[in-house]
Symmetry: C2
DNA sequence: AATTATTTTTAGATTTACCTAAAAATAAAA
DNA sequence: TTTTATTTTTAGGTAAATCTAAAAATAATT
């Protein structure tokens, strides 16, 4: 059984490990709004519990057990987000903080039943995949919108940026999950992208285009 | 802003205050499965924060602020219980522990929306009243089943005992909330009560009868 | 390779919520 | 009204998760 804090460390390490194999102390500290010294302390504790492998000055990796625990927290977080949006009508930019608390509720039964109540969703409101109860993710084939060529079409199925500002911006432009889009043009000058969104012409900056994930319809 | 632990103390004091005005240190300790010395420590802290009035050796009472905080936690607890039973199909004897965790989730918006989602319920799965967002309880007129006379009839609307064993027992006898009952006889020998429950004759012990709450239909 | 900069760890403190054991206050009984 | 019993508090200590400041290891630069 892990404490609330230990769970947060595991989750953070899990997410950071998606980018680098050995997760650095400083990176964890920054992500968790704490100091490197505190991270070192906690890492030792997690290592003692067999949740991470740790070599001094070399960063950490999750053990099998640690990874499973982290995935379980991610699962809970994302299921709660679905609940908040689908059932309680929260907007996709409002759910993160509350889910951050709800993810630590311990009952397994609760999550099983919540999953069923929500219809076993495969993705959260931002398109992030929800692992099943065995920790397995459905395979997803995302392409960043920025990588599409003129003429390519697809469906918006995710975002790789979860800040409220970004999500509200997308909402205003009408770029929400499930929407069909087609690339009309890429501006040479600033790299902004002209897209066709249900007969409407929308221009988005290169920065925005980087963080929209598309699943292509057939040909690619 | 209170800690998880402080909230639990306030809630416990609130419940104990329903029986005695000045809540004793030992009573709190017993209820919270902790030691009197720890309670004294926490009481001082709560007093410093203006959440309880405290005179040494004389027990505590909640201040207005303390009481409002406690009621808010009770509200959350009971709404989550409704959610668990109505939406996730938990049994009424299975919800307490999970609600005990959920009640500490902080978002006000969450509770407002949950309340609406559940249809603004007035009572939890055990018949306990749910305060509205201003902390006001709907007036309830309960009579203990044990106090009814032969011939009296009414509806089961609550229980004053929440142990899993008791609730399962009631479930097995068919004595669930909303059921109509009538008193057929009270046994001289052991004080057990014969009741009529949808044409069936059911005998319940005096002890059980003490903890079933009835709202009488018209005449009383 | 030596120096400088960065990252990480250690050492020693602090805060929160506990604890045990002993002392003090209050309540009950002789 | 003493004595005894109960309740409550104080004193001193522990474990978890932090912190700051300083030391040690690693990485980058000249």
């Amino acid at each position: 059984m892990q404490s609330y804090t230990e769970e947060n460390y595991l989750k953070t390490i899990y997410h950071l490990a998606e980018k680098t194999t050995n997760v650095q102390t400083n990176a964890i500290a920054e992500q968790m709004q704490t100091k490197p010294a505190s991270v070192t302390d906690m890492i030792k504790k997690l290592a003692d519990k067999g949740l991470v492998d740790y070599i001094k000055y070399q960063g950490v990796t999750l053990t099998e057990t640690g990874k499973n625990t982290a995935i379980d927290i991610v699962r809970k977080h994302r299921l709660w987000e679905v609940f908040l949006v689908d059932k309680l009508n929260f907007k996709w930019d409002e759910v993160h903080d509350v889910a951050e608390e709800l993810e630590h509720i311990k009952s397994i039964e609760l999550i099983e039943r919540l999953d069923e109540f929500l219809g076993f969703p495969k993705a959260d409101p931002h398109g992030d995949p929800i692992p099943d109860k065995n920790g397995r993710f459905a395979k997803t084939q995302f392409i960043k919108l920025i990588e599409l060529k003129v003429g390519d079409a697809g469906t918006i199925t995710g975002v790789s940026q979860h800040s409220s500002a970004f999500l509200k911006h997308l909402e205003k432009l009408g770029l929400t999950l499930g929407k069909q889009i087609q690339i009309n043009d890429v501006t040479d000058f600033d790299g902004s992208v002209e897209i066709l969104l249900s007969d409407k012409q929308v221009n988005i900056s290169r920065e925005v285009a980087k963080h929209i994930l598309i699943s292509s319809n057939g040909k690619n």
